[in-house]
C-alpha cells in the first residue's frame, strides 16, 4: 500500500526529515500488516448505547471563576489580554 507519510505529517502539523519519513513509513506499513490480521467482522460500530445515556448538564452559569491572568498565565505570548500568534491571512 502506498501511504503518503508527508501528507499525514502535514495533517498532524509535524515537520519530518527524510529519515523520519522513512522510519514512520515503515511503522505505518507494520500497522497495515497488523490490521490485515484483524477479523472481517461487520456490524454497527457507532457505539450508541441508549440504555446508558449521558447525563446532560443543567444550563446554569458557574460561580467558580478563574481570572483571565491565571487562565492565560501559561501562554507563550500575550498582548492586550489576548494570546498572540503569527499573523493569520485575512
Amino acid at each position: 500500500m502506498n501511504i503518503d507519510v508527508q501528507h499525514l505529517a502535514k495533517l498532524a502539523r509535524l515537520h519530518l526529515d527524510d529519515k523520519e519519513i522513512e522510519k514512520f513509513g515503515r511503522d505505518m506499513e507494520n500497522i497495515v500488516a497488523m490490521v490485515e490480521g484483524l477479523p472481517d467482522t461487520s456490524g454497527d460500530a457507532s457505539g450508541l448505547d441508549p440504555e446508558h445515556p449521558m447525563k446532560l448538564r443543567e444550563d446554569v452559569i458557574s460561580t467558580e471563576k478563574i481570572t483571565r491572568e491565571e487562565l492565560l498565565s501559561n501562554a507563550p505570548k500575550m498582548q492586550a489580554g489576548c494570546v498572540v500568534v503569527p499573523k493569520t491571512v485575512e
Binding site: 511503522d27 460500530a45 447525563k55 494570546v83
Partner: protein
C-alpha cells in the same frame, strides 16, 4: 524501622496515636526521596516546602482531634500527567516543560480534601506513551530491584517511588497497562479501576476511552484505601459513573473459598515467559487449596487486542495531542515565519519520537478513506472482546493472568523496536478495551525480579479484586521498600 518503610495503614494508626507526626513522616519520605533520587530517578518535581507545610496543617488538625480521612497525613506521589494547581505538570514532555495548571484534577481535589500530603510529581513515559518510562524527555527512571532494569511504564515513577519508599502511596494512570505493568515490574500493588469509577477530569488525556487513574501501594490495604478516596461520581466528566462505593478497606477479606478463578489459556501461551506463568499458576493453586475453584476459560479475541488497542489509542491520541500547538501553553518554537511554520516547528521540537509515531499512526487511521478499514474495524474487535469477557464472567468471578509477559527488561533493550515494546502490553490491553477493573499484585520473584499476578473482574467489582489480591498478599507477605 524508618517511617518511610511502613505502610500507610500502619502509619495512619501511629499518627492517630500520636506516635509520630505527619511532619516527621513527610520529612522521612522526602529524605528517602533525596537519598534515592540519583539512583532511581522517580521524581520530576519534589515539593518539599508545600509537603511540609501541608503535613504541619494535618498535625494541627490531629492535635485538635478533628475526624480525618484514613490517609490523612500520609505522603503521596502523583504521576506528572495529573493536573496539580500551581505545581508543574509536564507529562514528561518538552512540550509542557513549564506548564503550571491553573486548576486541580478531580482526584487532586479528593486527595487534598483527604489531607494526603503531596510530595511531588513522578516520572513517566512522555504523555503516558510507553512501557518503560524511557520515553520521558527529562530523565530515566530505574527499577529499584535492579537499577539496570526499567521500572515499566508508563507510570514508572509512580511504581518505583512506592517500591523504593520515596512515596508511601502514589497515583498513576492506565491506558493499556500503564499501572499494572510497572506495579508488576517493581513488585508493588497497582489497581486499574473500572472505566468511569475515577473521574478523568484533570488527567491529561492520552486515549480518552481507555484512560483511567488508579492507585499504587506496597500493600493491598493501602491501595484499597487510596482507591476509596479517589473513586466517585464527578459531574465534570460525562463518562464518570454515578454510583455508590463500599468502604473497600473495611470489607477487605482474604477468604477465597468458593471464589471461581478463570484461567484464560490465551494469556499463558507463546510469548509469555515460562517462569512467569509458573509463578502465577503456583499462586492460584495455593488459592485453590484455600477453597477457590479454578475454571478454564477462553478469550479468543485476545490475539487481536493489541492491534485494536494501538489503532484506537493512537487515533484518540492524535486528536487529544493536537491542542499542543504553542499557542496557549507550554513550549513554542523560537524561530518561525508563519502560523503553519510555528505549529510544525513547535510540535516537531516539542514531542519525542514515540509521541510523534503515535500521532502519525492515529492521523493515518482516521484519515479519509482509511477510517472504516481501521478505526471502525478496531471498534468491532473491541465489541467482540467485551462480549467474550461477558461470557467468561458467567463461568467465573475473577480472571487470573500474568500482569506482564516477562519481568522487567534492561534499559535500552527494547528502545529500537516499537513492536517489541508494544508486546509488553499484551496481558493488559484487553482490560482497558473492555473498561474492566484489574489489579496487579506481587506473586514472588522470577530470576531475582518481581513477577505480578493480574486479577481481572467484572465492572465495578474492585472489592472482589482487592480481596483476591489480599489473599495473594497473605501468601507472599507485605512488601517493604527495597534497598538501593
Amino acid at each position: 524501622m524508618e517511617l518511610y518503610e511502613m505502610s500507610a495503614s500502619e502509619l495512619s494508626l501511629m499518627l492517630k496515636e500520636k506516635k509520630c507526626s505527619s511532619e516527621e513522616l513527610t520529612r522521612s519520605v522526602l529524605s528517602r526521596a533525596k537519598a534515592t533520587e540519583e539512583k532511581v530517578g522517580a521524581y520530576l518535581t519534589l515539593c518539599e516546602e508545600s509537603a511540609v507545610s501541608k503535613a504541619r496543617e494535618v498535625d494541627a488538625k490531629i492535635a485538635k482531634g478533628e475526624k480525618l480521612s484514613a490517609l490523612a497525613g500520609i505522603p503521596i506521589g502523583i504521576k506528572d500527567n495529573i493536573s496539580t494547581k500551581g505545581i508543574l505538570t509536564t507529562c514528561a514532555s518538552k512540550m509542557l516543560y513549564n506548564y503550571v495548571p491553573p486548576f486541580d484534577a478531580f482526584v487532586m481535589k479528593k486527595v487534598n480534601a483527604a489531607d494526603i500530603v503531596v510530595t511531588g510529581k513522578l516520572n513517566m513515559d512522555e504523555f503516558a506513551m510507553g512501557s518503560s518510562t524511557e520515553n520521558s524527555h527529562f530523565k530515566k527512571t530505574h527499577n529499584p530491584h535492579n537499577l539496570d532494569c526499567v521500572p515499566g511504564g508508563s507510570s514508572g515513577g509512580s511504581a518505583a517511588a512506592v517500591a523504593v519508599g520515596s512515596a508511601v502511596i502514589s497515583l498513576g494512570s492506565d491506558t493499556g497497562g500503564s499501572i499494572r505493568m510497572p506495579a508488576s515490574y517493581c513488585g508493588v500493588v497497582g489497581l486499574k479501576p473500572t472505566y468511569g469509577a475515577v473521574s478523568r477530569y484533570g488527567l491529561v488525556a492520552f486515549a480518552s476511552s481507555l484512560d483511567q487513574i488508579g492507585p499504587f501501594g506496597r500493600t493491598v490495604k493501602d491501595t484499597a484505601a487510596l482507591f476509596g478516596i479517589i473513586c466517585g461520581h464527578d459531574n465534570m466528566d460525562a463518562t464518570s459513573a454515578d454510583r455508590e462505593y463500599p468502604d473497600f478497606t473495611a470489607a477487605l477479606k482474604s477468604d477465597v473459598s468458593g471464589l471461581r478463578i478463570g484461567i484464560p489459556k490465551e494469556y499463558f501461551g507463546d510469548g509469555v515467559d515460562e517462569s512467569v506463568k509458573q509463578a502465577v499458576m503456583d499462586t492460584v493453586r495455593e488459592l485453590e487449596k484455600q477453597g477457590a475453584k479454578l475454571v478454564d476459560i477462553s478469550l479468543p479475541s485476545t490475539k487481536y487486542a493489541l492491534n485494536a488497542y494501538y489503532i484506537i489509542s493512537s487515533a484518540e491520541a492524535s486528536s487529544n495531542l493536537a491542542r499542543f500547538d504553542g499557542v496557549k501553553y507550554g513550549f513554542r518554537a523560537e524561530n518561525y515565519d508563519s502560523l503553519t511554520d510555528m505549529y510544525e516547528k513547535t510540535r516537531s521540537e516539542g514531542f519525542g519520537d514515540e509521541v510523534k509515531r503515535r500521532i502519525m499512526l492515529g492521523t493515518f487511521v482516521l484519515s479519509s478513506g482509511f477510517f472504516d478499514a481501521y478505526y471502525k474495524k478496531a471498534k468491532l474487535v473491541a465489541m467482540d472482546i467485551v462480549r467474550e469477557f461477558g461470557e467468561a464472567f458467567e463461568k467465573c468471578d475473577v480472571i487470573a493472568t500474568p500482569a506482564t509477559p516477562g519481568t522487567a527488561f534492561k534499559l535500552g533493550e527494547n528502545m529500537g523496536d516499537p513492536t517489541k515494546m508494544y508486546a509488553a502490553d499484551i496481558c493488559t490491553v484487553t482490560v482497558n478495551i473492555a473498561g474492566l477493573p484489574a489489579i496487579s499484585v506481587p506473586c514472588g520473584k522470577v530470576n531475582g525480579m518481581p513477577a505480578g499476578l493480574q486479577f481481572i473482574g467484572r465492572k465495578f467489582s474492585e472489592q472482589t479484586l482487592l480481596n483476591s489480591a489480599y489473599a495473594v498478599e497473605q501468601l507472599t507477605g507485605e512488601v517493604r521498600p527495597v534497598n538501593v
